[in-house]
Symmetry: C2
Subunit: 227 residues, 2 copies
Amino acid sequence: MKPGVSPDTFPPRSHEAKRISVVEAAASVFCREGYAGANIDLIAAEAGVSRQTVYNHHGDKEKLFVAVVRDLTERCNAGIFATIATFPDQPAGLEADLVAFAVRMNRNCTCNRDGRFLRKLIQAEGERYPELFAEWREQGPGRTWSALAARFARLAYAGHLSIDDPDVAARQFFALVNAELQITFMLGGMPTEEEVLRSATNGVRTFLAAFGRRKAASVRQAGLAHA
Amino acid sequence: MKPGVSPDTFPPRSHEAKRISVVEAAASVFCREGYAGANIDLIAAEAGVSRQTVYNHHGDKEKLFVAVVRDLTERCNAGIFATIATFPDQPAGLEADLVAFAVRMNRNCTCNRDGRFLRKLIQAEGERYPELFAEWREQGPGRTWSALAARFARLAYAGHLSIDDPDVAARQFFALVNAELQITFMLGGMPTEEEVLRSATNGVRTFLAAFGRRKAASVRQAGLAHA
DNA sequence: ACAAATTTAGACAGACTTGTCCAATTCGTC
DNA sequence: GACGAATTGGACAAGTCTGTCTAAATTTGT
């Protein structure tokens, strides 16, 4: 991974810092302009380094692009798993806890800088790099859905939910919670805190109406009705 | 709209046919390569015309791109409204009818060539042409959601569903029905007929569990469980 | 303070694009 | 069959971009 150096002395931090700076600037420019439209000079300028430094670190444009996607995938996955770890296993108030979880997921994974960038790169360039994005698919959604499904299964086993197929339920949870943000996502925009909360609230409410234990039948009519 | 011609004789059909041919080839190339990566020579070749003809018809690359998006938007909207017209207002079997409707929607609008192309262009270039895609947003999703919400409201009023907010329900219906196709859509792929059916079936089942009238409480456990 | 490695700015060739121009050809129509 | 409009292919200038190279300046560790 690291460029060849003397036995025990590794390159100064500034070296690594610049590498990161370049990758981040590249992520931003690739997303804004597309792969073909991205300009190495612009990336260098935005990273605050010279063009030559970009080539020294990453070889060529395509390798830089791959590095960007790998980087984003890794960070996003880390964020997703960290957030899944906060899933409410022993909920005090199920609706409130699931809403809070959904909002965390949105804020820390789906809507943050890395999440939006990765999504856009996948959408725009996914077909051009099949193996790269197949890798993302396995590492990301593949493991993510399983992990989330396991949490829902546990919640069902503990009697808080009534679920036939945890995998389907997990995917539907996500779909419901993001239902009102689709168009904003499509255009690469950043929903407001309030929109996220509203979409999550409406989504969780419907999710519980479908999968909630029937004991508390008044759940759906309880809260304020967000338009 | 049409280019200036003599009073009563309009250009031969071949003229218009080539215009269409160019726009379709352009849609394909813009989607595959992105705006910046799209090459006019390639578009011309794919359309089976000379480069000069492309310029004769559309002026320049940007105007051609706008024409492509307008064209796709128009056709997609027409398809969407035509499909919404087949919404089951007086359902014989509610679940089966809604599944069939969802499958129609997917096949004729979301997953067909125009739908996939338009979605990709919006995702990739939406930020670069705010007013163009704002127009799409108003003409497309804006009116679509209203129309669909109205249908659900009628269904609720007729006693087939129990819905608080028809707009929310309409968005959630779409989200649920496409829940299992998200990743395929992201990568610009085309789901199989079977995947579409499965996602629709699972989605409608959950939708009815949440919004169905309680009379038939056994709805959720009825059908075969699609994994 | 010194020596080695890294970074920088700039020039550079090669390739590629866009959009224009033009003469020759083809096509549809009368 | 002949006329006029549309189409074609090719050449073309102007601009942009990638990736390389070099010599000078800077930074880093010792």
